[in-house]
C-alpha cells in the first residue's frame, strides 16, 4: 500500500516539476489550460519562514533533536528540499501552484517513509 502511494507521489512530483520546466522554456507550448501563474518569488519563501517560525515556537525540539534521529531522516531531507525550492523560487520566479504541489507531495512522501508524524 505504502509502495503504491510513494510511486504515485513520485509521479505527481515529476508532473509538477514538469510544469515548472515548461514555464522556463523560451517558447512555452500552446495550451488551452494553463496553471494560473502566481509569482512565487516572495510568497513561497515567506510561507516557508512562517512555517519554520510556527514550528520553532510550538515544537522547540523539532529542528534541534526530532529530525536528527535514525528513523526521521526523511523529514530532514524534506526540510532540505523545502529550502532548496525556496532558493530556486526566489532566483527563477517559479510559479507558486506547482511549487506548493511539489512540496506537499514531498511532505507526504516523508510521512509515508516513516509514520511518526513528527510535525506535531
Amino acid at each position: 500500500m505504502s509502495l503504491t502511494s510513494i510511486g504515485t507521489l513520485f509521479a505527481f512530483v515529476l508532473v509538477c516539476a514538469g510544469v515548472l520546466a515548461l514555464q522556463q522554456q523560451k517558447e512555452r507550448p500552446e495550451s488551452k489550460f494553463k496553471v494560473p501563474y502566481i509569482n512565487g518569488q516572495f510568497i513561497y519563501p515567506a510561507l516557508l519562514i512562517i512555517a519554520v517560525v510556527l514550528i520553532v515556537i510550538h515544537v522547540p525540539t523539532h529542528f534541534t533533536e526530532d529530525i536528527w534521529t535514525k528513523d526521521t531522516w526523511p523529514m530532514a531531507i524534506f526540510w532540505l528540499i523545502a529550502i532548496i525550492m525556496a532558493v530556486l523560487s526566489f532566483i527563477k520566479k517559479f510559479s507558486l501552484i506547482p511549487v506548493l504541489g511539489m512540496i506537499s507531495c514531498f511532505y507526504l512522501m516523508s510521512q509515508e517513509t516513516h509514520k511518526y508524524g513528527c510535525v506535531s
Binding site: 500500500m1 505504502s2 509502495l3 503504491t4 502511494s5 510511486g7 504515485t8 513520485f10 509521479a11 505527481f12 515529476l14 508532473v15 509538477c16 516539476a17 514538469g18 510544469v19 520546466a21 515548461l22 507550448p29 500552446e30 495550451s31 488551452k32 489550460f33 494553463k34 496553471v35 494560473p36 501552484i97 506547482p98 506548493l100 504541489g101 506537499s104 507531495c105 507526504l108 510521512q111 509515508e112 509514520k115 508524524g117 510535525v119 506535531s120
Partner: protein, 398 residues
C-alpha cells in the same frame, strides 16, 4: 550518448506519433467517445474505493471530527498536482499520462524511469485491489450463508506458507484442497474471475468500459448519499464538541490514510486519446472528480463522528458498526454490496490505464511494437489489455 538519454520529444512529434499510432493496424484506431461527464465518473470510480469507510474511521479516531480540515487540506494539495496534470493533459493530449509529460519536459531517461514506476504502481495496485475485492466478496457470500471453500479464496504461496506456519485458515485450505498428480489446487477464484471480467470489458471497448464505470459510480454515489442522509438523522451534535480534541498533531496522524483516499484522479489522463475534446474536458474531469470526492469525504466524516464518539471509530468497518449500534443491521449488507461495486470500479479504471501507458511507451520504442497494436474492431490496445489481465492473474495464482 548523454544527449541521447536526455533526448526530448517535441510536442508536435508526440502528437504526430499518436496520430500515426491511431492510423496503423487495419483501419480502426482508438475511439473518441468520452465526454466530461464520463471522465468525471472515471475519476470518481478510481478515487472512491471500498477502503474509504475504514480510512475515514481510522483517520477520525486519531484526529476527531476536525479530520475534515485534513481532508480539505489534502484535497487542495492534490488540487495543485491536478492543476499540473491538467495543463499537461491539455498541452499533450496523449494516453501516456505522467510518462508522456516527463518525455516532453525532461527527456527520455526520466520518461523511462517514470514509465516503469507507473507500471509497477499500477500492477501492484491492481493486484491489491483484486485481492481485496475477493475478500469483500467472500465475506458477503459467507454472510449470505454460502461459504466458498478456503482453497478457492487464497493464492498457492500464501496457503503453503500459512500451512507451514500453522495459520488455521491456510491449514484448512492446504489440507482440503483437491490434488491432481500430487499438486494441490489452490487459487483465489473470485479474484481471478473479477480480473477476467474486467479485462474482458476493457478489451471489448471504451464505450462498454464507460457504461460499466458510469453505472457502478451511480450505484456507489447513491449508496453513499443514502448513508449520509440516513446517518444525519442520528447525529448527536454533542459528539462534535470539542471539534479538534487531539489538536493539530492528532489530525496530522491521519495524513497518509487521507492522502490514499485521493489517489486515482491522475488515471483518467490515460484516456486522453479517447476523449472527444481532451484539451477542455480532461482538466475539468479531474477537477470535478476531486471536488465531488472531497464533498463526499467531508460529509461522511461529519456523519461518522457525529453518530458515535470519534474514539470508537478505529474498527475495520466503522459504517456497519455505527449503524448496527443504532439497530439498523440491514445497512451493513448494503455497505458490503457497495464495497464490491466500488472495488470493481477502481479495478476497471486501473486496468484501463495500464495498457494505455504501455501503448505510449511502445510507440516511443521503449517496448516492442506489439504493445501498441489496436484491435481493428473494438478499438482498444488489444495485446496490452490482455497482458495487463494476465500479469495480475499470474500474480494471483503464484
Amino acid at each position: 550518448m548523454a544527449n541521447q538519454l536526455f533526448r526530448k520529444k517535441s510536442i508536435t512529434t508526440i502528437l504526430r506519433d499518436a496520430e500515426q499510432g491511431l492510423g496503423d493496424g487495419h483501419g480502426g484506431g482508438l475511439k473518441k467517445v468520452l465526454g466530461v461527464r464520463d471522465l468525471t465518473f472515471f475519476g470518481v470510480a478510481a478515487i472512491i474505493g471500498a477502503g474509504i469507510f475504514s480510512g475515514i474511521g481510522s483517520a477520525a479516531s486519531s484526529g476527531g471530527p476536525g479530520i475534515i480540515f485534513l481532508y480539505m487540506f489534502t484535497a487542495v494539495a492534490c488540487g495543485f498536482a491536478a492543476f499540473c496534470y491538467a495543463e499537461f493533459a491539455s498541452t499533450v493530449p496523449v494516453s501516456g499520462s505522467a510518462y508522456t509529460y516527463s518525455y516532453v519536459a525532461f527527456g527520455e531517461i526520466f520518461a523511462w524511469v517514470i514509465g516503469w514506476d507507473l507500471l509497477m504502481e499500477y500492477a501492484i495496485g491492481n493486484i491489491a485491489v483484486a485481492i481485496s475485492w475477493s475478500d469483500y466478496f467472500t465475506n458477503l457470500m459467507t454472510k449470505a450463508g454460502m461459504h466458498i471453500p478456503d482453497w478457492l479464496t487464497m493464492d498457492y504461496i500464501s496457503a503453503k506458507n500459512g500451512f507451514a506456519n500453522g495459520v488455521s485458515e491456510q491449514v484448512a485450505a492446504w489440507t482440503n484442497a483437491p490434488q491432481i498428480f500430487g499438486f494441490r489446487i489452490i487459487m483465489d477464484l473470485p479474484a481471478l474471475l473479477i480480473v477476467a471480467l474486467i479485462t474482458y470489458i476493457v478489451f471489448r471497448g471504451i464505450k462498454e468500459s464507460r457504461s460499466a464505470s458510469n453505472l457502478m459510480v451511480i450505484i456507489k454515489l447513491c449508496v453513499i448519499f443514502f448513508v449520509i442522509v440516513l446517518g444525519a438523522y442520528y447525529v448527536n451534535p454533542g459528539n462534535w464538541s470539542p471539534f479538534t480534541p487531539e489538536g493539530f498533531g492528532g489530525i496530522m496522524k491521519g495524513v497518509s490514510a487521507v492522502f490514499f483516499a485521493y489517489i486515482g484522479f491522475d488515471a483518467i489522463s490515460t484516456t486522453a486519446e479517447e476523449c472527444k475534446n481532451p484539451q477542455k474536458d480532461l482538466p475539468r474531469g479531474m477537477m470535478y472528480s476531486l471536488i465531488i470526492c472531497t464533498v463526499v469525504y467531508i460529509l461522511l466524516a461529519l456523519v461518522l463522528t457525529g453518530m458515535v464518539h470519534y474514539t470508537k471509530l478505529n474498527v475495520g468497518d466503522p459504517l456497519a458498526m455505527v449503524f448496527d449500534a443504532k439497530g439498523l443491521k440491514f445497512i451493513s449488507g448494503i455497505v458490503a454490496v457497495s464495497a464490491i461495486i466500488a472495488t470493481a470500479s477502481v479495478l476497471l479504471v486501473f486496468q484501463l490505464g495500464q495498457p494505455r501507458i504501455w501503448m505510449s511507451m511502445s510507440r516511443d520504442g521503449l517496448l516492442p511494437k506489439i504493445f501498441s497494436r489496436i484491435h481493428p474492431k473494438y478499438g482498444t490496445p488489444s495485446f496490452s489489455t490482455i497482458l495487463t489481465g494476465i500479469v495480475v492473474a499470474v500474480r494471483l495464482y503464484s
